[in-house]
């Protein structure tokens, strides 16, 4: 609650402060706002567990639109942390005016609504608050045709999928008579126990899932995401790959586990099949790419497939597995995208050759690269392994066939992650721009590596936290 208010007011302040100043002067304010918001997450958490928070702050007045329970706070924390790293690592442009920073902060506000909603209206507003600034960010290089194309595709597909999502909401509203998560849970509980097959709810669920699959870029509805990731400026791409993915999965998880858990039989198989198809397709398509940015885009499609498993798992296991996986995925994407951004010549040419000879010229950079790639591929002792292990472990009893496909997908993914590895350590002469790090970059990359290793070696730093499910 407090974090959301801080970021919202901070975004307005950044916009006003940055009217006449270059962007890099507003950056410290934006970072400070996000850090202040992040500080309130553990404070709220402790207060929530000890029941020190007044009711009006947990369940936002007037009509229970937001609910800041511990799962919501956990996802919000990861989301704000990822936003801090995106802003800190990717703000090297010489743009005038702080509008893009302000838009990113507004987008984070939308993400916080998505992690903490307790009413479908708030989920819808969160999705839109998150997406509308992103349409602008995707097209922020106004004279570049690739950026234009990304903005148009993202806008059209984004608003199209919102319409599909809303149709699903409308059918579910018609079938259950409610938009509130608690009342939805009661209604579906009744449907599930009495064995009533409500056609409205079933149709609504299916359409809602299609809308969510568009948002998270799962297999049959993923086609927009590689183009958008490829065309957008690097900062917008990494924002989509980390913050948006975190928010979308937190919302997906919350909606399906809080509201539709009692009618799991109606939707579980669809999600399992989509998850398997996404893992296979994402990994195989990533293997065929020449551009590294597109490879990472397809690999993020594949990662979405893995994360869908958390929706299938039991709420408790699924929550921890998803949280660890999101941390792992966000930090390893951030570090790899950062190196790709800095070694690419200008903004064009994201080929694998940029990393040729990288390992010989830059010790710290290659350490970050190796740990990031290991974490993406799920090699033990990195956070990626802990996340994958948690996810696989949570579905092993119920969907063994999905586990086989996921392991196969992981094996395929090693091939393309190691293509970078091979170029960096055994490639020819260096082709990319030389990596130059200032103090802030070094500290942030060091922190990212530290997080990946700590979570990989002791996942209990995350899974040991005390959670209380929604009241």
């Amino acid at each position: 609650m407090k974090s959301l208010l801080i970021i919202f007011l901070g975004a307005i302040a950044v916009l006003f402060f940055g009217i006449k100043r270059p962007e890099r002067k507003s950056l410290p304010i934006a970072l400070l706002v996000l850090i202040a918001a992040l500080v309130f997450i553990p404070l709220d958490w402790i207060a929530f567990i000890h029941k020190h928070v007044p009711d009006w702050q947990i369940k936002y007045v007037p009509t229970n639109m937001l609910s800041w329970d511990t799962p919501a706070l956990a996802f919000s924390g990861v989301l704000i942390l990822a936003a801090i790293f995106v802003l800190g690592l990717f703000s090297k442009n010489k743009l005038h005016g702080a509008d893009l920073l302000g838009l990113m902060l507004f987008s984070v506000c939308g993400g916080l609504l998505m992690t903490s909603f307790s009413n479908l209206i708030m989920l819808f507003l969160g999705i839109e608050c998150l997406s509308i600034p992103l349409y602008v960010l995707a097209g922020s290089r106004k004279s570049d045709l690739g950026s234009n194309e990304a903005a148009v595709k993202y806008f059209l597909l984004g608003s199209f999928s919102t319409a599909v999502f809303l149709l699903g909401c409308a059918f579910i509203y018609g079938g259950t008579g409610s938009l509130d998560l608690d009342s939805l849970a009661r209604a579906t509980n009744m449907l599930g126990h009495m064995g009533i097959k409500s056609q409205l709810v079933m149709a609504g669920l299916l359409i809602l899932m299609v809308g969510m699959f568009f948002k998270i870029a799962a297999f049959p509805f993923h086609f927009w995401s590689p183009d958008v990731y490829d065309g957008s400026p690097n900062r917008a791409t990494v924002f989509m790959a980390t913050v948006v993915k975190i928010a979308a999965f937190a919302a997906f998880f919350r909606l399906f586990h809080y509201a539709f858990n009692d009618i799991k039989g109606w939707w579980a198989m669809t999600i399992a099949v989509v998850s398997a198809a996404t893992i296979l397709f994402g990994n195989i398509a990533a293997l065929r790419q020449q551009s590294m940015k597109r490879t990472l885009a397809y690999s993020s499609v594949a990662h979405a497939g893995y994360m869908l498993m958390a929706i299938l798992a039991s709420p408790f296991d699924g929550f921890w597995a998803l949280l660890v996986y999101l941390v792992a995925y966000a930090f390893s994407s951030l570090s790899i995208f950062f190196l790709l951004d800095r070694t690419s010549n200008g903004n064009e040419g994201f080929s694998f050759d940029n990393f040729n000879g990288f390992g010989r010229t830059n010790k710290f950079g290659s350490l970050v690269l190796v740990i990031g790639l290991f974490s993406m591929a799920g090699i033990p002792l990195t956070a990626g392994f802990a996340g994958k292990f948690g996810l696989f472990n949570s579905i092993i009893g119920t969907y063994p066939w999905l586990l086989v496909i996921a392991l196969l997908g992981s094996a395929i993914s090693i091939a393309y992650y190691f293509k970078v590895f091979k170029n960096a350590f055994f490639g020819g002469e260096q082709q990319g721009t030389k990596l130059e790090l200032n103090l802030m970059d070094t500290v942030m990359l060091g922190l990212a590596v530290l997080v990946i290793l700590t979570v990989g070696i002791w996942p209990t730093v995350i899974t040991g936290l005390q959670i209380i499910p929604a009241p």
Binding site: V136, Q289, R294
Partner: protein, 108 residues
């Protein structure tokens, strides 16, 4: 017979069919048309089909939450249209066309 009783005598299924048909017209337009402005209009049509459905359910069940949702959808649709038109103006300045079929540079 006044109009009030005509509407109240209609079954809820009529509204469901009507909004489904409207939604599908919008969907068909999005899938077949290539002009960005027409696409935007088709998406608005889909949103309005959803609005109609929400209002119908809301009135049928005597619950006000659905009508509240419709207000939010209308507000957000307006914001979305503003950003969308700005993007279309941006591409028009660069390529002198609003045909989305021209955008096929990103492939792989």
């Amino acid at each position: 017979m006044n109009t009030d009783s005509i509407f109240s005598s209609l079954d809820i299924s009529h509204y469901i069919y009507l909004s489904s048909v409207l939604f599908c017209i919008g969907l068909f337009g999005v899938l077949t048309r290539r002009n960005a402005i027409v696409l935007l209009m088709c998406i608005e049509l889909m949103l309005n089909a959803v609005n109609l459905l929400f209002v119908a359910f809301s009135s049928y069940m005597g619950d006000s939450a659905g009508q509240l949702f419709v207000f939010f959808i209308m507000v957000v649709a307006a914001a979305e249209a503003a950003v969308g038109l700005a993007i279309i103006v941006m591409i028009y300045r660069n390529v002198r066309s609003t045909d989305v079929g021209l955008f096929d540079k990103l492939k792989g």
